[in-house]
Symmetry: D2
Subunit: 246 residues, 4 copies
């Protein structure tokens, strides 16, 4: 009658992730697992799951996620399984003018489900950016309020996409990108770039949606932009979800 699941929450596990540039990056994942399984198998759920995880630990990527999930499902004799793996991911990024390299941290999540009514694989990223308010710019004699804004993008895809490429797409959808290291010429550049590209949160989310809609490998997406307003204590927020699978 009802959909029931048991699972574990907040297991932390070190993993090695495949990197676009080649090789792997070591990081620490926070893992949630939900399975539908006959009661008699419940007792050994955690040891069996961690055993499977150990096999894949040194070569994680969204590509191998379906295989990992099938293994989890089989070993647990489950009807269905849902696995969520969230981790910080570091990418070296050059400052826009001086090209000084610096490490940027992004939050990423792989979510997979197998069996039951759906067969999902979702890749999610959270990317810090800057938004500069168009209204503030328009009505003020000088300046314009701007702030850090976090863009979240979730996608289902038909061909493999690198996290690195999704991040690049999202970073180009706000008033300006965010960097970890900026020298003076860089700071001038990001200040002026943001001022030249004023955007409300709904402008940024629309731009993300346009990129995702026209991407040949993306089947479905949802996106949200949260702007930590510099003139308020609350956040401005915009959200979009693609209507159908393509």
């Amino acid at each position: 009658m009802n959909l029931k699941a048991v699972g574990i929450k907040n297991i932390r596990f070190p993993v090695k992730l495949r990197v676009k540039a080649g090789g792997h990056q070591e990081t620490v994942a926070s893992i949630n697992l939900r399975v539908n399984l006959p009661r008699r198998f419940r007792q050994n759920c955690v040891p069996i799951f961690l055993g499977v995880l150990k096999k894949y630990q040194n070569d994680i990527s969204v590509e191998i996620f379906p295989e990992l999930l099938r293994d989890v499902k089989e070993e647990l004799q489950a009807e269905s399984a849902r696995l969520e793996m969230t981790f910080p991911y570091f990418i070296e990024k050059k400052a826009p003018v001086t090209k000084t390299p610096g490490l940027m941290e992004y939050t990423c999540r792989f979510t997979g489900a197998t069996g039951g009514t759906c067969d999902d694989l979702i890749m999610s990223i959270w990317v810090p950016t800057t938004t500069l308010c168009p209204c503030s710019k328009e009505i003020s004699d000088y300046g314009a309020h701007n702030q850090r804004a976090e863009i979240n993008l979730n996608v289902k895809f038909k061909n493999f996409i690198w996290v690195e490429d999704l991040i690049t797409t999202v970073e180009q959808s706000a008033s300006c990108e965010v960097f970890s290291l900026l020298k003076r010429p860089d700071e001038k550049y990001v200040t002026e770039t943001a001022y030249e590209n004023p955007m409300f949160v709904e402008d940024a989310v629309r731009k993300v949606a346009e990129s995702a809609s026209s991407h040949p490998d993306i089947l479905w997406f949802s996106a949200g932009v949260e702007s930590f307003e510099s003139i308020h204590k609350h956040s401005a927020y915009a959200y979009v979800v693609s209507d159908t699978m393509r």
Copy 2:
């Protein structure tokens, strides 16, 4: 083509809630709002919303939520609106033996949506309880590991239900209830009661589901139990969702 919304996140606002015993309780709500609205109205979104909120601030209950939402939608000339209000709620609860009164805090949320494809009103509660592990009890010569476990219940209903009544139902679904004040005879009672009622998280969630399924006024529900295992660093988790609206 796509469903789009803008909104505000994390507005905090003092509100007075209707209490079952009569009168009101003052508390502090965290509010999220999402609306679909023509772009030209965006600028005044926050002042208009806060103006509507102020009208209802002194008499909030799940009963008036649809009216509040209609007002928000109309004043903002939105096609649809979705409002989420989360707040701490205090109930005086007597210790089980000595009947010493003490204040218990519960987290509650009202979620309402109007227009678009759905017309939802969901009442959510998060209730602290105790679970005692049946396996640990069975295999051990003495004792059994137990821990705090949080039960979340979300319901759609056809007739008004008091938060207080939902909480009572949930508190009777675990190994034992949790209290803010316990004297020695009370502590003996809760220790022995938990030992007499061993439950895995899936047993607790099944009991919540049975109560919700048989409740004449509940149309739909989902429930989750998270147990902060005393013998592990991770949580055990069980989840159930009713398959259809009744």
Copy 3:
């Protein structure tokens, strides 16, 4: 030999706070208590403490805090007691040009200690503000990056000071104040005001320190400013502590 204490953490309790304008404001406090007490009294620590708290619940202010603490200490037969009460506090604040009223939320904390080596009473506030980067303004042809910045001020005092007055002082120490409601003329005002008052975090903390140093009723203070940089993912931070009690 060693300083030892036992206590409770994260008790939540509704309280009524004295308001400068007269009357009281209802809010929800998060409370930590630490006491040094003979072991035999430990068992009833929580019921006794909550009993004392109940007596004061309807008229809390920093003025009555020493009395509340003495009561806690006596009733618990403790050598010393340390009590920390943190709560959201709402103040109606008018927009700078249109004077539209809106509710601002601030976090406040009262900390008291009695006995042992010190006899402290500290009032703390966390206030959202805006900072605009002087360097960014100087080197850019137009615009300047700015962001929300949180200012924390902690004071010991010789005469009673209202929370409301401390907040006003702190709000005047950043590039611009933050508001909950802004109409177009107000938004123009805050944008231009921030642009006219560029400040690094260390400029803001120095201004807070100057106000606190010259306040006749403040004996000691510490202050910190954390700026959630709009061009980075990390925060800039500045800190100052007064060297001696006056």
Copy 4:
């Protein structure tokens, strides 16, 4: 007159930590830095600091922390510097009976300060354990409430101590240790061990204090135990700090 500092908060950085068993472990650190420095050097603070960090990134240990700090101080031409590095640390730990290996996660922090009035190096750990209530056991005909309890230990030392050894000491100070993987004989063992070793939070903190006091290499320590009570919503807490440096 006043002690002033500027800095950065919440920089995240991948680091390799020296491991007692040999080799290194890759993890992700959250870093806070505070420095006292002439205003003219402020602008390049972040690039210079991250440059120094990069030099040490692949071989971090509490042993090299003073050198890292001296380098930071010199490169920034600061009068003093204070650096805090917090990270998750994984240790393979065998189940108590079946010896099944499993990965345990601990939170660790290195804090260093150089110059100014103090010259500190503090190593901190947060370790999950189980506490079982002595009162509950004594008054109940069967069972006893127990729960996860987190023990924090902070030490200054005269000779290098491995994080691994500090963790072992702390794990032996509660009613029972916590594991990531337990088979049935292991679960029986931890249940009965906790029942045989009932402890209030003050008993656990006293045991930690005794071990730290008698450790030949520990100069100073503070310790806290927070027990997430299974019968309450609040935590019980005990704290101890060594009175003097030895």
